[in-house]
């Protein structure tokens, strides 16, 4: 007869703290100790400590960062295009809290070896976070400099092991009208969910980035929490927010703006001062924040200034046709 003798140091499974709680407690304690320390020294409580979100552990990636001055946190978080919450620039900061991002998973589908429903933590766990300070150029002719925290898209894609049929990657935003008031609008021309896509070589480019944070903390909802794409050489609408689905495809997917107005928004949507939007010029951009009485106009650069890294992707293509 086999009798299992427990050594004195043995702890039954039931007493073991699950890892997630353990990690949360560590996070909580770090925060608590840090705030206690800060509070005990008057004047040391800095503004960013009061910002919402969890502090992220990341390394700076200066080789991928501009040295231009990032826009202030308030500008980045109160001036957003996230039509799921309304078309006004301030609508997302007002209403995005109606979206729940606590338990998030991403459905991975299509031409890959590792499809399935991934909890966000599992999708990100093996990767070291980086901070990259990128320019973001909106198709509406304004731009901001934003310090993102996240992981290179290529690293995540490699783990999902796309096969030779995977010529494109397609992304989808959460579709939840009960949490997203813009999706309840009667006169919206967007066919929800919001969709975007990249060619495989674009997705694997070293600049393509999955952001989970901003200014060192987890993303506020209005900026696309908990996980969003950032493709800095393309107009902002390509950088899809609050991603719930990634699909590897053989055919080129249709993006939402392409579906609404194909003559105004193409699949590529590369920043290009030589190709005007039919309703306005793309030669210049207003770098925000802008003063009240003087617009802060600067010249728009081809590929938003990232030509060195990405121009090769489009060799031989007529960019006025593939806009």
């Amino acid at each position: 007869m086999f009798i299992k003798q427990r050594p004195s140091w043995s702890v039954p499974e039931s007493e073991v703290t699950p890892e997630s709680i353990y990690l949360n407690r560590r996070k909580f304690m770090t925060g608590a100790i840090a705030s206690a320390a800060a509070l005990s020294i008057p004047g040391l409580v800095r503004a960013e400590d009061t910002r919402p979100g969890t502090v992220l552990d990341y390394k700076a990636a200066p080789q991928f960062s501009t040295d231009e001055k990032p826009a202030p946190y308030d500008a980045i978080t109160t001036y957003n295009n996230f039509y799921e919450f309304g078309t006004g620039k301030q609508d997302p900061s007002r209403y995005a809290s109606e979206m729940s991002v606590d338990t998030w998973s991403v459905e991975v589908e299509g031409a890959c070896a590792n499809p399935g429903k991934y909890a966000l933590e599992d999708l990100l766990k093996p990767h070291q976070y980086q901070e990259r300070i990128y320019r973001l150029r909106c198709v509406e002719a304004w731009s901001m400099v934003i310090p993102w925290v996240g992981v290179p898209l290529a690293e995540v894609i490699k783990r999902l092991e796309p096969n030779s049929d995977a010529k494109f990657v397609y992304f989808e935003t959460l579709n939840a009208p009960e949490q997203m008031r813009g999706q309840r609008s009667l006169f919206s021309t967007i066919d929800w969910p919001y969709r975007e896509g990249l060619r495989m070589d674009e997705a694997m480019n070293e600049l393509s980035f999955l952001a989970v944070g901003l200014y060192g903390k987890t993303l506020p909802n209005q900026n696309g929490a908990p996980i969003r794409l950032v493709v800095p050489w393309k107009y902002g609408f390509k950088s899809i927010k609050s991603i719930v689905r990634i699909r590897f495809m053989k055919e080129q997917p249709k993006s939402s703006w392409e579906m609404i107005a194909p003559s105004e928004y193409g699949f590529y949507a590369n920043v290009n001062p030589e190709v005007d939007h039919p309703r306005w010029s793309q030669k210049m951009e207003r770098r925000l924040p802008s003063g009240v009485f003087r617009p802060n106009w600067i010249e728009t650069e081809k590929f938003n200034g990232y030509g060195e890294q990405v121009a090769g992707l489009y060799k031989g293509m007529d960019l006025s046709r593939y806009y």
Binding site: T189, S281, R286, F293, R294, P295
Partner: protein, 205 residues
């Protein structure tokens, strides 16, 4: 006699009230500018707010005649000129804000010849200019029987202003639909009461 004086005073008080109300959008904007409350792109916010104020006042001006007809009180007419001039005032500020705060006076030729929504807005503004100029009592007398057909330019001005607004929509047109219903309502009741020809500008009826 006493009632005439009371009536005059009522008119003055009413005009002051309408004057104050019509200045509210500007007041709010100035307060927001002073408090730096307009976010990272204040020029855009200011320009949009002035444009919306102009369009709303245009609609209020257009509502005066129906209001008179429905309520049977002709006192409304007393405020019409002031409201129309305020609409013009906001439209002029809107144009100036666009030129200074958004364009920075760059690319003027291309902007006003190539961009359909700008052309519609500029046409709406141009249609309002002669109305503002001929709004004084003396100009009314001088233009005589042409005054009314001239001032029917307010209808195309309002429609063009709406088109100017619609053509800036990117996906959600709820607001534009609401304004379209109001504007169409105001035009339709006129057509029913006074005939379609009463909506045609520059043609004497």
């Amino acid at each position: 006699m006493a009632s005439a004086v009371a009536n005059k005073w009522r008119g003055i008080v009413g005009k002051c009230l309408v004057f104050g109300l019509a200045l509210l959008p500007l007041g709010f904007l100035v307060a927001d500018i002073v408090n730096a409350n307009l976010g990272p792109d204040p020029g855009q916010v200011i320009t949009e707010a002035l444009g919306i104020a102009a369009f709303q006042l245009l609609l209020v001006t257009l509502a005066i005649t129906p209001l008179k007809k429905v309520t049977g009180w002709s006192g409304w007419l007393r405020y019409r000129r002031m409201l129309g001039l305020f609409a013009f005032f906001y439209a002029a500020l809107h144009l100036l804000a666009f030129l200074q705060l958004i364009l920075g006076w760059m690319d003027l030729w291309a902007t006003f010849t190539k961009r359909p929504y700008i052309i519609a807005g500029a046409a709406a503004f141009l249609a309002m200019v002669p109305l503002a100029i001929t709004s004084t009592r003396r100009m009314m007398k001088r233009t005589g029987r042409w005054w009314k057909p001239l001032h029917r330019l307010i209808y195309p001005a309002a429609i063009l202003a709406w088109v100017h607004f619609l053509w800036q929509a990117r996906s959600d047109i709820t607001e534009m639909v609401v304004y379209a219903v109001i504007l169409a309502g105001l035009l339709v009741v006129r057509a029913r009461w006074f005939g379609v020809s009463s909506l045609v500008p520059l043609k004497r009826t």
